[in-house]
C-alpha cells in the first residue's frame, strides 16, 4: 500500500531493538556458557543427547492438541456470539474471567476437579463412581484450553463480525449447503482471525509451565518447565538459555509455516 508511517512505528522499532534483540543476544550469549562461565558448546550437545528431544516432541504434541481443541470450541462460540443481540457485551464477558489471577483459578480447578468437588458430585449423581480427574492428560488439556479460549475467540469474533452477511445469503441462494457455505465462504474470509488466534494459542502453549505441575502433577513435562527448572532450581542458566534458543527456533519455523503470503500481497 502507498501508506507509509515510518515515524509512527519508531517506538515499535525501539521496542524490538531493546526488548527483543537485546534479550535474545543475552540468551544466545548465556547458552554458550558452562557452569563455570567458560565458553563452550556443550549445552547444545547436551540438548541433542539427552531427554530434551523427547520433551520437544511432547511439548509440540500437547501444544497441537491444545490449539486444536481451543479452536474447535472457540470458533462456534465466536460465531454464535456475533449473532447475539448485545454481542460486544457478551464478548467482554468472555474476556473478564481472564483478569482474575491464574494461580487462584488453578487452585479453584484443583478443588472443582477434586474427588469431593462439584464435578465428581455430578458424576456420582449420574450413578458413576467418582474418579480422580486431576493429574491426568485430560485435566491438563482442559485447563490449558480454558486459559487460551479468550485469546482464540477475540480475533475470530473480530473477523466474523464485520463479514458482509450478503455473501452468506448469496451463497445460500446459489444452493450451497451450510457446510459448503462455511467451507467456501465463511472460513476463508475469517482465515486471518483464525491464524492470529492459532498463533496466540500455539506459541505460548509450547512454553506452558505452571499448570504442568499444578494440574498435571509433573506427568507432563514441557520445554517451558525444563527451562524454568534450569534457571531456578539447577541454576544452570547456560542450559536453560540453550533450551530457550530451541524454543525460539521452533517458533520461527512455525511462523514460516503459517506466513500470510497471499493475503498480505494486497495490503
Amino acid at each position: 500500500m502507498k501508506f507509509k508511517s515510518k515515524s509512527a512505528s519508531v517506538p515499535y522499532i525501539i521496542w524490538i531493538a531493546l526488548f527483543v534483540i537485546a534479550p535474545i543476544g543475552l540468551v544466545l550469549y548465556y547458552s554458550m556458557l558452562d557452569l563455570n562461565g567458560e565458553f563452550t558448546l556443550v549445552n547444545y550437545k547436551n540438548f541433542f543427547t539427552s531427554a530434551y528431544l523427547t520433551m520437544t516432541l511432547t511439548s509440540f504434541w500437547y501444544a497441537l492438541v491444545i490449539t486444536f481443541f481451543t479452536l474447535i470450541i472457540a470458533y462456534p462460540t465466536a460465531y454464535l456470539l456475533t449473532k447475539t443481540r448485545h454481542k460486544h457485551l457478551w464478548l467482554m464477558l468472555i474476556i473478564i474471567p481472564s483478569w482474575i489471577n491464574l494461580l487462584l483459578k488453578t487452585y479453584a480447578f484443583i478443588g472443582i476437579f477434586g474427588l469431593y468437588g462439584p464435578v465428581n458430585a455430578v458424576i456420582k449423581l449420574l450413578g458413576f463412581d467418582p474418579t480422580q480427574i486431576l493429574f491426568t492428560d485430560f485435566s491438563f488439556v482442559f485447563v490449558a484450553v480454558y486459559i487460551f479460549i479468550p485469546f482464540m475467540i477475540i480475533p475470530i469474533f473480530n473477523a466474523l463480525d464485520k463479514m458482509n452477511p450478503s455473501l452468506i445469503y448469496a451463497a445460500r441462494d446459489l444452493g450451497a449447503s451450510p457446510l459448503t457455505t462455511f467451507r467456501r465462504v465463511i472460513f476463508p474470509l475469517t482465515i486471518e482471525g483464525v491464524k492470529s488466534g492459532v498463533q496466540v494459542t500455539f506459541i505460548p502453549a509450547l512454553s506452558l509451565f505452571m499448570i504442568t505441575r499444578l494440574i498435571a502433577g509433573n506427568k507432563v513435562i514441557t520445554l517451558g518447565t525444563a527451562i524454568e527448572q534450569q534457571f531456578l532450581v539447577a541454576q544452570n542458566w547456560g542450559m536453560g538459555s540453550t533450551i530457550a534458543v530451541f524454543l525460539i527456533l521452533i517458533m520461527f519455523a512455525i511462523m514460516r509455516f503459517t506466513r500470510t503470503k497471499k493475503k498480505g500481497g494486497r495490503a
Partner: protein
C-alpha cells in the same frame, strides 16, 4: 477515533486518581518516620500485626516484600538494583550467599535476645558461629498421611513403606530434586548429601520402582489436597504438614527412621542493606520470646526459640513430630551445598525420574 480518545483519557484520569489513593494508603500505612526497613520474606510468613508492633516500638516503617523461592530471591540479590535489609533464606541458600560474599556479618552484641535460641540451632555447619544468620523457623522433611485410608501396617517408620503395593496411585511427592533424590538415598541408607554417582544412580533406579504408586509430583498445592482428603500420602515439609494437620485432624506426620532432611530458614542481612542498624533491631525484635510465640501461632511452623516454648501450649512444643527430641534429630541431615555441577546431576536424575512416570 473519538471514542478511542475518550477511553484513553478515561484511563489516564483513572490512573491519576488511583495513584492518589495509593499514596494516601501508603502514607496511612507507614509509621511516619523517615527511617525505613525493607524486609524480604516468603508470603504469609510473618504475623502482620507484629510488623505494626515493630513500627510502633521503633518508629521505623517497614516495607514488606515477598518471594516464592530461594533461587528466585537469590537471583535478585545477586543482580542488585534494589536494597533489602532483612531476608529469610533457607540454609543451603545461606551457604551460597556466604560463599558469594553477599551478606553482612551480624553484630551479636546488638542482639541480646539471641540467648533465647536453643543452642542446638546455633553454630551449624552452614554458618559456623552464626556469623551471618539468625534462626527464624526450622523443620524436617517427612510423610504426611491419613491413617484411616491406608492399611494399619504402614506407619512410615521406614521410607520403604512408600513402595508398599497397597499405596498404588496414592503417593504425592514434593517437587524438589534435593528432597526426592535425598529420600531415595536415605531409603538405601546413604547420606542425602551423597556425592557418589553410583549411589545416586542406585537411588534413581529405586525411585523408578515407585512409578505405580506416585499419583503426582507437586508443590505447595499439596496442602489443599491433603486438607480435603483428596490425597492420602504426601512427602512434604513439616511446616506444610503442620498447616494441613491444623485444618484436617485425621492427618498424621512421620519422619522415617533412616533419616531425612533438617531445614532452617534464617534471617540474614544482605550487603546491599541501607539500614543495617534497623535490620539488627528487627532481628532482635523477632527473637523476643513473646513475639516469637505469637509468630509461631500465626505461621504454624516450628520455632527454635526456647524462651518462646515456655509461652506456647505444651501440646505444641511437646509434639515429637514437629519438635523432635535431640536423639531423634541425630538421623537428620542438613543439606550441604553440593556445588552447581552436582546439583545439576541431582536435577537431571530427578527429571529422568519424572519422565519415567506414567
Amino acid at each position: 477515533m473519538k471514542s478511542l480518545i475518550q477511553i484513553m483519557l478515561a484511563i489516564v484520569i483513572a490512573c491519576g486518581l488511583l495513584s492518589f489513593a495509593a499514596s494516601k494508603l501508603e502514607a496511612a500505612n507507614s509509621a511516619g518516620g523517615k527511617d525505613t526497613l525493607v524486609v524480604y520474606n516468603w508470603g504469609e510468613y510473618i504475623d502482620p500485626s507484629l510488623i505494626d508492633q515493630f513500627e510502633e516500638e521503633t518508629g521505623i516503617s517497614v516495607i514488606y516484600e515477598t518471594y516464592d523461592s530461594n533461587e528466585a530471591m537469590l537471583t535478585k540479590i545477586r543482580q542488585g538494583g534494589s536494597a533489602y535489609d532483612v531476608v529469610v533464606p533457607s540454609e543451603y541458600t545461606i551457604e551460597t550467599m556466604i560463599k558469594e560474599d553477599l551478606l553482612i556479618e551480624i553484630d551479636h552484641s546488638k542482639l541480646p535476645n539471641l540467648q533465647n535460641i536453643d543452642p542446638y540451632f546455633l553454630d551449624l555447619p552452614f554458618d559456623p558461629k552464626n556469623k551471618y544468620s539468625i534462626p527464624y523457623f526450622w523443620g524436617t522433611v517427612g510423610v504426611v498421611y491419613n491413617p484411616n485410608e491406608i492399611p494399619k501396617h504402614i506407619t512410615f517408620d521406614s521410607w520403604d513403606d512408600l513402595w508398599d503395593p497397597a499405596l498404588k496411585n496414592k503417593v504425592f511427592l514434593v517437587d524438589g530434586a534435593r528432597e526426592i533424590m535425598g529420600m531415595g538415598l536415605n531409603s538405601l541408607g546413604y547420606s542425602l548429601n551423597s556425592r557418589d554417582d553410583n549411589q545416586l544412580r542406585e537411588a534413581l533406579e529405586k525411585l523408578k520402582l515407585l512409578n505405580g504408586n506416585v499419583k503426582a509430583i507437586i508443590g505447595d498445592e499439596i496442602t489443599p489436597l491433603m486438607i480435603n482428603n483428596e490425597a492420602t500420602v504426601a512427602v512434604t515439609f513439616s511446616g506444610q504438614a503442620a498447616d494441613m494437620m491444623f485444618e484436617n485432624e485425621e492427618l498424621d506426620y512421620a519422619v522415617p527412621q533412616e533419616g531425612s532432611n533438617l531445614w532452617f530458614d534464617n534471617m540474614v542481612i544482605p550487603k546491599t542493606s541501607k539500614n543495617v542498624a534497623g535490620a539488627h533491631q528487627f532481628m532482635n525484635f523477632m527473637l523476643d520470646a513473646e513475639v516469637a510465640a505469637q509468630n509461631t501461632d500465626y505461621v504454624g511452623y516450628a520455632i527454635p526459640n526456647k524462651a518462646a516454648w515456655e509461652l506456647l501450649d505444651d501440646e505444641v512444643v511437646n509434639d515429637e513430630r514437629f519438635y523432635p527430641h535431640e536423639e531423634s534429630r541425630n538421623n537428620l541431615e542438613v543439606y550441604e551445598n553440593l556445588g552447581l555441577e552436582l546439583l545439576g546431576t541431582y536435577n537431571e536424575y530427578f527429571l529422568e525420574f519424572k519422565m519415567s512416570l506414567e
